[in-house]
Amino acid sequence: MSGPYRQNVTVKNEQGMHMIPCSRVAQLVRETSCQVQIIRDDQVADARNILDLLMLKAEVGTSLLIESEGEGAESILAQIVKLFDDDFEIISEN
């Protein structure tokens, strides 16, 4: 067991944490056994659940706290932060 690890991120996506960003995060977390929570103020979402994540209603500019715990928690946290930094690898118009 390792963690918990914590890091703050800001939503850069214009449309906020919509379906695609949420599904990317959930997909990543589901591949591990880590407990990952994304927290907005007093609202806590289990990052495994897209619906939970959507319910955060995180629009562009929202600040979120990511918390991870368990096997490989440090690396999963880094990967999620990278997703936020890369704007969820959403490919724009080709």
Partner: protein
């Protein structure tokens, strides 16, 4: 009695009981299961989730290939959503603890989420409830399987009322049992509207919300001439419409006698009168009315049928059927013209994610960006052209570069076929739709690059006037009689004549009897119309003199408002053809 106004898209009068098609389509037959069956039902749930995942995976692949990776991502997200562990455990709990059927449990959980999203008070998240509803439908479709309640169970004639009908639903309506339909959504040029015309049943679209006012089973009247839906008609109204329906039948019988007559004006000018079709079967509607050819064969239905990309053989068979039935008369095949409003179920939402789909990736733009898809269609057209007079037409061309690119791809395809030793016709005429103002403005330049023009008035009007006809708040601005539209048409005709290239009008405008004399006056000698309108238009042509048509065009050029133009044309039509102007 209640009267609702919508957009008439297919003429005629239908009277009968209302059948509401909404969630009825996914009626859940059984809410509870026996406790002994819970394990079996859970397995059924898992199987359905897996099937939905496979289906979404196929959609993702298709959307990524055809539209780009960013569109495929939507379906990938749906796939993740349906596998959401929290949601699945909620559904499972309802089945295990309360003995709910998987259908009922799934609906309950997903509906809850849909409502929750709607209540979040943010437009974007509220729209996500549509995604959840879509998932719900997918799940129910798989869970219910053969048990799905639908239109196939109809035993008596009904009139369909729905929020919207998908193109495939419309195409599958059985004319034996469905006398007509009315939808809350849709516009005159929506796919569903076009299909209604093809089916030749009275239809109204774009009525706006009315389904909450009907419960199903009540007597209704669809007036497909004026776009009126009458719910629970009074005795006198019912009588009036029954008589009107009778007149419609009689009129149809009378017009049948026109099948063998030639569309020639009184002073001997032969007008080429062709039919617009969507399905191969519609060729019959053209042949039986004596059409001079198929001036517009829309091929989108091939793509909408399965929600999958059609193979070259599927294209080829459809084209062969059409060209063989036309027995040497020309068949103009328009390549894929999928627009935002014409994308089937799931893919439609993908395109609507764009801020402005009508100005986005559609028609020839889509084809040029998806070359494998485009080439498959071109190969089939070139091969089928061995059997008759097939011509190729590219839709929504807006720049010269596009037409050059499209022609280049066509040459590539010819080379491929040649290398493979497959028979095809090399000298197939290549034309384009003139439906974007830029193409109309540069008509002379375009005319040098193609063998023929076909003016698509529906889009030309929409793009020229910047009006979405499906939007009721501005629909009154949409008019084929607008002086700007008429001026553009005139310029295109003149440019085509200067370059000695034939020009056809194939939009809704040419199917409307009052506009036909004007078009002839503008120099048009070829039109392609809704097959059902061929007899009426023949009658107009046979009663018209070109001299009169020229006078009409000249008078219209002096009018400065759409309303004046339309009123004037209505009056002139009455002079030309008093018999036709009967008000139904």
């Amino acid at each position: 009695m209640m009267i609702k106004q919508g957009i008439p898209v297919s003429p005629g009068v239908a009277i009968g009981p209302a059948f509401i098609m909404g969630n009825e389509d996914y009626r859940i037959p059984q809410r509870f299961v026996r406790i002994d069956d819970v394990e079996k039902e859970l397995q059924r749930l898992d199987a359905a989730i897996e099937q939905v995942c496979v289906e979404l995976g196929e959609h993702e692949e298709l959307a990524s290939d055809r539209l780009g990776k960013q569109y495929g991502a939507i379906f990938a997200a749906h796939q993740q959503l349906i596998q959401d562990p929290k949601m699945i455990s909620e559904i499972r709990a309802l089945i295990q603890d309360k003995c709910f059927s998987p259908e009922y449990a799934t609906s309950k959980v997903l509906e809850q989420y849909a409502k929750l999203f709607q209540s979040l008070g943010n437009q974007y998240f509220a729209e996500r409830s549509a995604d959840i509803v879509d998932l719900q439908h997918r799940m129910l479709k798989h869970l219910l399987g053969e048990r799905r309640e639908g239109l196939s169970n109809l035993t008596e004639p009904v009139l369909i009322l729905a929020n919207n009908l998908t193109p495939s639903e419309t195409a599958n309506l059985d004319k034996k049992h469905v006398l007509g339909f009315v939808t809350e959504a849709g516009g005159r040029t929506s796919h569903t509207a076009i299909l209604a015309g093809a089916l030749q049943i009275p239809a109204i679209v774009g009525v706006g919300e009315f389904l909450s006012d009907v419960s199903g089973g009540e007597m209704i009247i669809i007036d497909g001439y004026h776009g009126e839906l009458i719910i629970d008609p009074d005795e006198s109204v019912l009588e009036r419409f029954t008589a009107s329906r009778q007149r419609h039948f009689e009129e149809q019988e009378r017009l049948k006698t026109y099948a063998d007559l030639v569309p020639e004006t009184r002073d001997g000018e032969r007008i080429t009168l062709m039919g617009n079709i969507e399905f191969p079967q519609e060729v019959e509607h053209c042949v039986e009315r004596g059409a001079d050819g198929v001036g517009l064969y829309r091929t989108e239905f091939l793509y909408l049928q399965e929600g999958k990309e059609p193979t070259e053989e599927v294209h080829y068979e459809a084209y062969c059927k059409v060209v063989e039935s036309m027995q040497g008369r020309p068949v103009v095949i328009r390549t894929l013209d999928l627009g935002a409003d014409k994308i089937p179920g799931a893919l439609e939402k993908v395109l609507l994610q764009n801020s402005n789909p009508m100005l986005g990736l559609r028609s020839i733009r889509l084809s040029l960006q998806n070359q494998p898809l485009f080439k498959t269609q071109l190969r089939a057209i070139l091969r089928a052209a061995m059997l008759g007079d097939i011509r190729i037409m590219f839709p929504l061309v807006s720049t010269l570069r596009e037409i050059r690119q499209a022609r280049m791809l066509l040459s590539d395809v010819m080379e491929d076929l040649e290398d493979e030793g497959i028979e095809f016709r090399r000298d197939v005429p290549v034309g384009m739709m003139v439906e974007v103002p830029s193409a109309a403005i540069l008509a002379e330049e375009f005319a040098r690059e193609v063998d023929f023009f076909s003016i698509g008035t529906n889009d030309l009007i929409q793009y020229t006037l910047a009006v979405d006809r499906a939007d009721p708040s501005v629909a009154n601005l949409y008019s084929a009689g607008d002086p700007a539209v008429i001026r553009l048409i005139q310029q295109v005709v003149q440019a085509a004549h200067r370059e000695n290239k034939p020009v056809t009008v194939c939009g809704q405008m040419s199917s409307e009897p009052r506009f036909l004399p004007l078009l002839i006056g503008l120099g048009i000698r070829q039109v392609s119309v809704t097959p059902a309108m061929i007899p009426e238009l023949k009658e107009v042509i046979r009663n018209l003199e070109v001299k009169h048509a020229n006078e009409i065009a000249s008078h219209v050029s002096g009018l400065d408002s759409a309303r004046d133009v339309e009123n004037y044309l209505r009056g002139e039509l009455h002079k030309i053809c008093p018999a036709y102007a009967i008000d139904f």
